[in-house]
């Protein structure tokens, strides 16, 4: 809307949107790592066998976590034991515990399990950053066309509250999340050779002036065929969506401004077997005709390729600590590591935006929302949200929305094949995944979950020896 109506939002609004978005990165990535991904690597049942004293030593050795010590880990273990002894395993029932692909020691498993619980509590507090300026989380509600509405919250107490929750969260990110990430990664280095894609796309985000994309803190660009030496500048007109394999009426690939969403009606069962090769509600988004991965890895690679002054040293330092080459970034391990590293960079920067907001308010700038006149036209809005590149395309006629399309991160990563048979990034990444037991494919969960999919997806596994097909639901 702001793009279509040529609105320049006030500086306070730009900074505050960056702050809210930075808080979203901190929150989402912590929850993803600990609650949606960690149990693919961490065997929580094995934690019951750990020696709490050795766990405390391990934790001291790898991290600067504020909570720890033998009695702490003993207490966590006892709590888990009581839970298991109750016989009601709840959400932990029937998982792949004891699978040979779990490689952590019982002590590392206990440490990670304890931090799983710590992170669960922290994220509830972290989410309060959104509520301070957005009224609630999830679904904050203070963003309007032209700026922001939370004018009564631009006070020293509210800003300080935001800053201190941001600092508390960042303390956890740098002293617990990253050390856990490195500790777990050190057991799973071979995953630096599994689960990579060829092409990467980042719209970039966090504008630090009115100049976009130049001022974006997380930069914009595409990387083709893993060539980090060349970060290709973007043109929004090169985005198209293909519906060959989607449950939509046939048509050629279209840019979102001319995009159609006409669900099929003649095949009411929406079976994957009998729809003429159609099998998904997703369309297949392409950039310049290419299937591209979006998300933390794409953003970090674009920043790394451009020699970003914060991201590049973080990446180089991590590669050095793990003793793996830069080529290992194109992998499941690289994706999971990139998510953690950008949380470090964005979380630190968010605190600087808070300072910038305070300075701007001190200078007497009180503007929060620009005035505008409604007019006909078209516009697009690009963001790079925690899961990846997100685009909105809108056309306005007679003061109303005439057409509207959006292309979301999980559609980029999990869309179906296109007319040329190109695979989506998740499908591409799964090729060659070693699987110890096709009936319990924890290895597949690792790669699929590493994309942080916002979708329930069906994955079919074929055993090359028996040719037996296993359908696995991953969610």
């Amino acid at each position: 809307m702001e793009n279509a109506l040529d609105i320049q939002i006030p500086k306070n609004a730009r900074i505050l949107r960056n702050m809210l978005h930075g808080a979203q990165f901190q929150h989402d990535h912590i929850v993803h790592f600990y609650h949606l991904h960690a149990l693919d690597w961490v065997d929580i049942v094995s934690a019951l066998k750990a020696d709490p004293k050795k766990t405390a030593e391990l934790a001291d050795n790898v991290s600067n976590a504020q909570v720890g010590g033998t009695s702490y880990f003993k207490q966590v273990q006892q709590r888990l034991q009581t839970f298991v002894d109750s016989g009601q395993l709840g959400p932990f029932a029937n998982a792949y515990w004891g699978h040979p692909a779990y490689l952590l020691t019982p002590e590392a498993n206990l440490m990670a399990s304890a931090h799983y619980i710590e992170a669960l509590r922290l994220q509830a507090r972290t989410a309060r950053m959104h509520a301070i300026f957005g009224g609630k989380n999830p679904h904050p509600q203070s963003l309007v066309v032209g700026g922001i509405t939370c004018v009564a919250d631009l006070t020293p107490d509210r800003i300080a509250e935001f800053l201190y929750i941001c600092k508390e969260t960042q303390e956890f990110v740098e002293n617990v999340y990253i050390p856990d990430l490195l500790a777990v990664a050190s057991f799973y280095k071979e995953w630096g050779g599994v689960g990579g894609c060829a092409n990467y796309l980042a719209y970039g985000d966090f504008p630090e002036s009115e100049k976009e994309p130049e001022s974006l803190y997380m930069p914009q660009g595409a990387i083709y065929n893993r060539d980090l030496s060349k970060v290709v500048p973007l043109d929004q007109m090169k985005v198209t969506e293909d519906v060959t394999r989607g449950w939509y009426e046939a048509g050629s690939p279209k840019h979102p401004w001319s995009g159609e969403t006409k669900p099929l009606k003649e095949n009411p069962k929406y079976d994957t077997q009998n729809a003429g090769g159609k099998y998904s509600w997703c369309k297949a988004p392409r950039y310049d005709g290419k299937s591209c991965e979006v998300g933390p890895l794409a953003r970090v690679l674009a920043a790394y390729g451009k020699g970003h002054s914060d991201i590049k040293p973080l990446v180089d330092d991590t590669l050095k600590k793990l003793g793996i080459p830069a080529t290992a970034l194109f992998s499941t391990l690289g994706r999971t590591a990139a998510r953690g590293l950008e949380t470090v960079a964005v979380g630190r920067r968010t605190q600087q935006w808070v300072t910038e907001l305070i300075e701007n308010l001190k200078n007497g700038d009180t503007a929060t929302c620009a005035e505008y006149e409604m007019k006909d036209g078209q516009g697009y809005g690009w963001n790079d949200v925690p899961r990846g590149s997100l685009g909105h395309w809108i056309q306005i006629k007679d003061g109303k929305i005439d057409r509207y399309q959006y292309v979301v991160p999980s559609t980029w990563n999990l869309g179906p094949r296109d007319a040329a048979g190109q695979m989506s990034p998740v499908e591409e990444a799964l090729i060659g995944t070693p699987i110890a037991d096709p009936k319990r494919p924890v290895e597949i969960l690792r790669t699929v979950h590493s994309f942080d999919p916002c979708i329930a997806c069906a994955v079919h596994v074929i055993d090359p020896h028996s040719n037996e097909v296993y359908k696995i639901k991953v969610c």
Partner: protein, 313 residues
Amino acid sequence: MEKEKSFYERLEARGISRRSFMKYCTALTATMGLSAAYVPKVAEVFAAPAQRPPVVWLHFGECTGCSESLLRSQYPYVDDLVLEVLSIEYHETIMAAAGHQAEENLHAAVKKHAGKFICVVEGSIATAYDGGYGKVAGRTFLEIAKEVIPQAAATIAYGTCACFGGVPAAKPNPGGYKGVKDAIGVSTLNIPGCPPNPINLVGTVVNYLLLGKLPALDDMGRPLFAFGKTIHDQCPRRSHFENGEFVEKFGSEEAALGYCLYKVGCRGPETYNNCPVAKFNDGTSWPVEAGHPCIGCSEPDFWDTMTPFYEEM
């Protein structure tokens, strides 16, 4: 007793004093509309439940914002809910199992706890094309709902989608999405909101654990303790409405003064919810406090009946 002791020890180890926990219980008891005599009993429910009641949480047409809202619960934190208060037998987002193993958990829980589990539903149910618009593991939402929900002791529709259809049911609604009650004809306890406030779910569950029954409901199945009054009647900006002091543009002087948002589209007068009193995220704020008009997100068909959002009713 032993359990209760370790519960308070654990709280204190986390820097949460017994006193601040009791303060929360008092607030929760008040939210539920119970007398102060219930405060220690409410605390007891969290400290040492006699048994953890089994919960089956079904996801249909939704965005998982309702689950996310529950994850934001503080006192009790969600790990207390999961490890000590409830037994979450099936929940797609938080469960560790995947694929066939996850589906096995659902079937096993329904069979083992038939007639005894609490079913929480998040999201609405596609009814057109035999439910073809929404499936989990190859089965339609409609089939799953018809199989699971009639076997529950009680069903809580959590969020506007499960209660009344919500966003998936907005016009033109090609998938024929409906709320649980309308889709399969069972009565549900409805906690609407987009997202709903987790304190209202916690309050309902505590009521169930404490009194062995669900709280009193209005004619739309909503707990009266939370949905008995309009936003407007509880709004701290109400005096500005009475005085005719209105915000007419965002970013204006009137907006900075915190005037009434009625003229920029506030739907508070038509919306029943306790947002102004309970607030969100441990009492941090709520939309009107953040300067944004209420969009009526907990009312039936809000996406069609409350829009255009920024125009006066």
